[in-house]
Structures are given as C-alpha cells and as structure tokens.
Amino acid sequence: MTDLGPLVPRQRDMHPVPYDPDYKTSVTRSPKWPLLSMESTPSEETGPRFGHSMLGPLDNNLILNYSRDPDKPAVGERILMHGRVLDEFGRPVPNTLVEIWQANAGGRYRHIKDTYFAPLDPNFGGCGRTITDDEGRYQFLTIRPGAYPWPNRANDWRPMHVHISVFGHSFGQRLITQMYFQGDPLIDQCPIAATIKKRSQLDRLVAPLDMAMARPLDFLAYKFDIVLRGRRQTMFENQLEGM
C-alpha cells in the first residue's frame, strides 16, 4: 500500500532566476533573502478543485467566446493549442483547471492598462479556460497572438506567446508560464524568456507545429505539454490523520 507523500521539492535551477537586470521590473520585485525551504504540509498538498460543470461550451474557444456569434470570429491565424498536463513521475493530471490569456493578432491586449496603438479586435477578448480530461489532455481553439513592443530596454519586443495558468491538485503545484511558438526569432531577443538560464528548459516552452492535429482548410496546431511538481509515493510514510 502506497500513500501520497510530500511534494517533490522544486528544482529552482530549472526555473527562471527571480532577479535579472535585463528584465527591469524583476530588479525591485525579487526577494533578496533566501526562501525558507521546508517539506510540504497539508496546506500545500491540498488545493482547490474545479468541476467540469462550471465550464461553458465556448470557454476554450477564444475565436468565438467574446463575440458569441459564429459570424463574428476573431481575426488572426486560427490555431489549435493542445497538450497534456503531467507530473514529474509522468502521471497524467486529470480534472485540473487550465486558463490562458493572450494578445490579439496585432499584439494588443484587451486590458484597461494596455495602451499599445495596435487596434483591439472587437471580436476577441483574449481569455479561455478548460479542465483536463481523465488523461490530462486539454485543447484550446484560438488565434496566434502578435508580437508587441514593451517598455523595458530601449527596443524590447515580446515574442508571440500565450500565458498559461495551471492549478494541479495541490496549492504547491501552482504554476503560471508562457508558451512560445516554434521558429519565432524574437524568443532569442526576449529578456523575459532569457530569465530561464538553462536553454533546454527554455526550449520546453517553445511549442512545435503539430501538423497531425491541424485541420485541413481550417486551423494549424501547436502542441504544448505541461509538467507539474509530483508527490512522492511511499510505503514508509503513513497518511495524515483526517486526510
């Protein structure tokens, strides 16, 4: 009989550095003192669960979920974004909430604070959500976001990217990341992408074109798998009382 043990400690060197002078905002927002490292407790091993029943039929269709009118789709290159959520042991993470947000095809966000002069698309909101199936799979239909300039160094541009938020089953698994697109030359110029110092780890954020999942005469596809922290399975640590 095995029980779910503590979360596997995070390998911090596989993540971006918190402080990076080339990403200027991180300079004043990164902790200076070391984090307190501790084995997880029920507070981190439990977490919010969300049911499929909360989802609307268009929640994972960003092409239509803002206009809600099949005759008014969002402008842009139509893509399917899909993949699996797994843990470090390769186990699927089923029934977990995946949320995405992104700029429109011109690189403009629908947000009260985005003032870039690329136009808003009246038929594009920019957010979507879904819950993984029993095999940890998820899918979104969306448009490829545009690159855009941002105030950092004198001439910095964000590569095309989709923001992704994943819950897992434990609050300690909480993760926000970004998906980039295969072949985008701006990835290598981007100081935010460059906060990840291991090239092999940055490569894991670059989604390959997946022609097998593209739909002829309709949309291209990009595949993006996500790995969350795992929990040790052990025969030597009894379950906690009340768990």
């Binding site: 905002t25 927002r29 981190e44 629908r110 990840i196």
Partner: protein, 199 residues
C-alpha cells in the same frame, strides 16, 4: 552506466505579466461576458462556520512602492482545520480566493473565515494560517507565503520555528486592527522583507 531515470522536469515558470487579470480576473481587465463570473470571488459562502475576518494590505516592492498589478490567491482550511474535500469539511468553505491589488491604490482585501489549526506531518499541529501565492509582472516564479494571526498561539508552529532570524517572523503575522480586522503587508524586497517559502 546506470538505468535511465525516467523522471520529467517541472515546466519552467514565466511571469504572469501586467495583464495577468485577463486570464484570472477578466472583469478587472474590463472583460465582461466571457464567463458568468470571475473564479474564486470568495472563499466562503453564506453559513460558513467560524469568525468572519477581513485582511487588508498591499504588496510593496523594494523601493517602497505598492504594486498596482499584483494577483493574489489564498488557500486555507475551514474554522475546524479541515480543507475542502476532507471528511467533515464545512461545505460553505471553498477555501480558495483570487483577488487583485487595486489598480489605483494597490490595496487588497480578503474576506474569509479564520481557519483552525491544521496538522503537519508527524503529528505536530500548525497554527492557524492562510496560504498565499503572488503573481505579477516582474515576479518570474510565483511567490508562496503564509498569513498567521497575532491573536493566535503561534509558539509551536513548525514553519515559524524554522525561521532562524526571529526578527523576520513578524513578516508572516497579520496585525489586528479591529474586531475581525487584520493588516498584512507583503514586502517583496528590502527592509522587513516578507519570508517567502520554498515548500
């Protein structure tokens, strides 16, 4: 040579950016109508057992400036120390809340019930606390911390006991400002920096 170790590596984090609200709290960004309502509006429903409390504060950067674009999430047990989903947990406590720093003042407010003590591994008890997770532009990997309460007995809490510099412990303890009202500021960097957790 050895057998291959077929572990996967966690996907690296990236900042949530300044527009994190679009995906997490769309109405904050000005987006209405995609979802019936924002997720995690309240960690409690009517009828939740226990003392209703309000925690207010700001997320403050290394220069002393309060962030106007921070996203916060909280996770907690109910008043009896049960997490949602556990046997006997209060059905009116979802335990999860999402809230943002105000776009003009940077102030945040969390209204919830005060949680009860929860067990740690090995039989010890943890003092009542609420877990917090903070994402924002400039934060490359989300920050975990905890809110404890100055009017609770925190003396035997295993996490607080692990903090070597006892002068940093108050950074995790909300101060009482009135009946059921607490203040908890999060200092990302510099003097009185909050203790953040690798947990």
């Amino acid at each position: 040579m050895t057998q291959p170790l077929d572990r996967l590596i966690e996907t690296p984090s990236q900042t949530g950016g300044p527009y994190v609200h679009i995906g997490c709290i769309p109405t904050f960004a000005g987006i209405e109508g995609v979802y019936p309502q924002d997720l995690g509006l309240s960690p409690i429903a009517d009828g939740a057992k226990g003392q209703v409390i309000t925690i207010t504060g700001q997320v403050i950067d290394g220069t002393g400036w309060a962030l106007r674009d921070a996203l916060l999430e909280s996770w907690q047990a109910d008043a009896a120390g049960k997490f949602p989903g556990q046997n006997g947990a209060d059905p009116n406590v979802s335990g999860f809340c999402r809230f943002a720093a105000d776009k003009d003042s940077g102030a945040f407010t969390l209204r919830t019930v005060k949680p009860g003590p929860v067990p740690a591994r090995g039989g010890a008890m943890q003092a009542p606390h609420i877990s917090l997770w903070i994402a924002a532009r400039g934060i490359n990997i989300g920050l975990h911390t905890r809110v404890y309460f100055e009017d609770e007995d925190n003396s035997a809490d295993p996490l607080l006991a692990r903090i070597e510099q006892k002068n940093r412990v108050p950074s995790l303890i909300a101060t009482k400002t009135g009946e059921g009202a607490y203040r908890f500021d999060i200092r990302l960097q510099g003097e009185n920096e909050t203790v953040f957790l690798d947990i």
